[in-house]
């Protein structure tokens, strides 16, 4: 803990802001009990990797939720046989979904892995305060910053790194989401999943190989600044990897289930026209706010925005998650699968026939 205080002191000194009456060693980064003076029960958030989400909250009282995030720069698969140098929260793209309750105080610990090249920080859109937390979390490799905020507005929010050059930190995968549940919680559903779209800019085109080095025998795609400036991505991906939601990694539900998806767009540049082929969203929390729209085919998700969608999976089959700016789905990777298992529902959907068109009609076309 001492190091946090030292780091906090360093930041205040470096950035020439007024500091409270304490010096290195005694200056505390935040008040442990909050302004009310009432100690909140402390809960350590258990984070899971996407597309999974933490369990629903069943509390009727506010808590101090301790969240541990770690920024990590990791080389891993972007597409079959190709690697990319991702910058991440907790090693995944997107970073884990943080789940808290409106009224909670979130104590966010941001550690930067010692092997990082970069300084990182975090801006959470659920924060009402300078930089969304970025101003309090500039963290060099091997260090940790801590800040606390009260989650005052229920909703689904994006978080991301905001260290210069900001577009590059985001383009390399530094985003995730935080869900602030309303005090009464969310209605129970059969499945909840977490998906984020992002656009990636690599020097070689879609599925073209990059280069190899001794340290990286799998071809490594390099970031392409010029393509990013032109907003012409080579990859548009769900959860940071082509195939992240396909085959063994597909999302699953059963006939008759209600599925809730937390879908966000990390960007940096492209707005998602999010659609599931063969489904209609029963409920969409428009722009993640309190307005709920019904019977939606395609919903817009801007970079730095998110929605909650709910759908009832009535018919079995494999349903494709796409960005319906459809080139991105079939030529750049923005494709996922929702596999619905169960008995066929012929009264809702069935195939009648197929084959050669009747001869007498063939000439009519």
């Amino acid at each position: 803990m001492k190091h946090h205080s030292v780091a906090a002191a360093a930041l205040t000194l470096l950035f020439a802001t007024a500091t409270a009456a304490a010096g290195p060693g005694s200056l505390s980064a935040y008040s442990a009990s909050g302004k009310s003076g009432q100690a909140l029960p402390v809960i350590k958030e258990t984070l899971v990797a996407p597309p999974d989400v933490p369990a629903a909250i069943h509390r009727d009282y506010p808590a101090r939720v301790v969240v541990q995030l770690e920024t990590k720069e990791v080389v891993k698969k972007i597409a079959s046989g190709l690697n990319y140098d991702f910058w991440t929260f907790n090693g995944t793209v997107p970073g884990p979904l943080i789940r808290v309750r409106e009224g909670d105080t979130v104590e966010l610990h941001l550690r930067n892995d010692p092997s990082s090249h970069m300084t990182h920080n975090i801006d959470l859109h659920a924060v009402m305060g300078p930089g969304g937390g970025a101003a309090a979390t500039m963290t060099p490799p091997g260090q940790e910053s801590v800040f606390a905020f009260k989650a005052m507005r229920a909703g689904i929010y994006v978080y991301h790194c905001a260290t210069p050059p900001v577009p590059m930190h985001i383009a390399n995968g530094m985003y995730g989401m935080i869900l602030v549940e309303p005090p009464q919680g969310l209605p129970p559903v059969a499945h909840e999943y977490y998906v984020m779209q992002g656009d990636f800019y690599t020097t070689t085109g879609y599925k073209y190989t990059g280069y190899t080095t001794g340290a990286h025998p799998t071809p490594l795609l390099a970031f392409d600044l010029q393509k990013m400036l032109k907003e012409q991505p080579t990859y548009v991906l769900f959860n940071g990897q082509e195939g992240s939601l396909i085959g063994d990694h597909a999302l699953h539900a059963k006939v008759g289930d209600t599925v809730r998806l937390f879908v966000g767009d990390g960007g940096p540049n492209l707005t998602s026209s999010f659609h599931i082929i063969g489904q209609i969203f029963d409920d969409v929390q428009v722009e993640g706010g309190t307005l709920v729209n019904h019977n939606v085919q395609t919903t817009l998700i801007p970079p730095g925005g998110a929605v909650t969608v709910e759908l009832k999976t009535l018919v079995p089959g494999t349903f494709l998650l796409v960005d319906h700016a459809i080139t991105r789905a079939f030529m750049k990777g923005a494709l996922g699968q929702l596999v619905v298992s169960g008995e066929p529902q012929p009264e809702l959907y069935h195939k009648v026939s197929s084959g050669p068109a009747p001869a007498d009609k063939a000439g009519a076309f």
Partner: protein, 258 residues
């Protein structure tokens, strides 16, 4: 005056325990910094001629330095001057270990330690202006910063080295001055790095001359496409001078005519 002091220094230190580092001369010149002027516009900077180390200080050289100056050894150095990450990758205070190559650039050194090392070879840390002036060059041009291919190659090299310890020095072609490894290998301390003053949330555009900064303004970039440079500034600016990071090393410079 400098010569006398240098002679004094040598007399006090005795013969140096390590090989004499190579320096090359950079001529005086003027360039436009990637950092914005206080009004947000271009900042024309004049740099006097100076001598720069061809390569960054290496682990081997730093080992010789701490042997000669035990107060800079890990475990003996005052926490005021070097924090807990100081030389943390070394196996021992006087042992490099297998992954820490003698010919690799020394990293995890504090700004204080880097300055002491440079003073020990009759030199100093470069100013940011001197470093940026030198680093604008490539093998054929004094200012290659407008070449997208050159910038892309630097970015790619930085990213390709993720997760690995900085490679050996001197593997890349020397620049037009004869200096090596300025852009690709690591971040390097500058003497005045702490005066680049990022605002706490650096996305805020500079708001012009600030009272808090006495005529200066929060850090802003005039050329926002110099990503490798922006990454470098972000990496340095977040560090306190006693802190040490795995990618942060240094090289020294000397005034011309010393």
């Amino acid at each position: 005056m400098g010569r006398i002091a240098f002679a004094m220094l040598l007399a006090l230190l005795g013969s140096p325990a390590y090989a004499v580092a190579r320096y090359v001369k950079l001529p005086a010149g003027t360039f436009i910094s990637a950092l914005a002027a206080p009004n947000g516009g271009p900042q024309r900077v004049h740099v006097a001629a100076f001598w720069m180390r061809v390569e960054p200080a290496t682990n081997g050289e730093f080992l010789a330095f701490v042997r000669a100056h035990p107060r800079w050894q890990r475990g003996r150095v005052l926490p005021l001057f070097a924090g807990p990450h100081y030389l943390a990758a070394w196996r021992g205070p006087l042992t490099l270990g297998r992954e820490v190559r003698a010919d690799g650039p020394v990293t995890q050194v504090s700004w204080f330690a880097a300055r002491a090392f440079c003073a020990g070879e009759g030199a100093r840390l470069p100013t940011w202006d001197e470093w940026e002036y030198a680093a604008a060059a490539d093998a054929t041009r004094r200012d290659a910063r407008r070449d997208p291919a050159r910038n892309a190659a630097i970015l790619a090299a930085i990213q390709a080295s993720t997760g690995s310890y900085p490679g050996a020095i001197g593997r890349h072609r020397a620049d037009v001055y004869g200096v090596r490894d300025l852009n690709r290998l690591l971040w390097e301390w500058t003497d005045d790095y702490a005066a680049m003053f990022p605002s706490a949330d650096s996305r805020n555009p500079g708001t012009g001359p600030s009272l808090a900064l006495c005529g200066g303004s929060a850090l802003a970039f005039f050329d926002r496409t110099q990503y490798a440079l922006i990454m470098r500034v972000a990496a340095l600016a977040a560090l306190r001078p006693s802190e040490a990071a795995p990618r942060v090393g240094f090289r020294c410079v000397r005034n011309d005519g010393e």
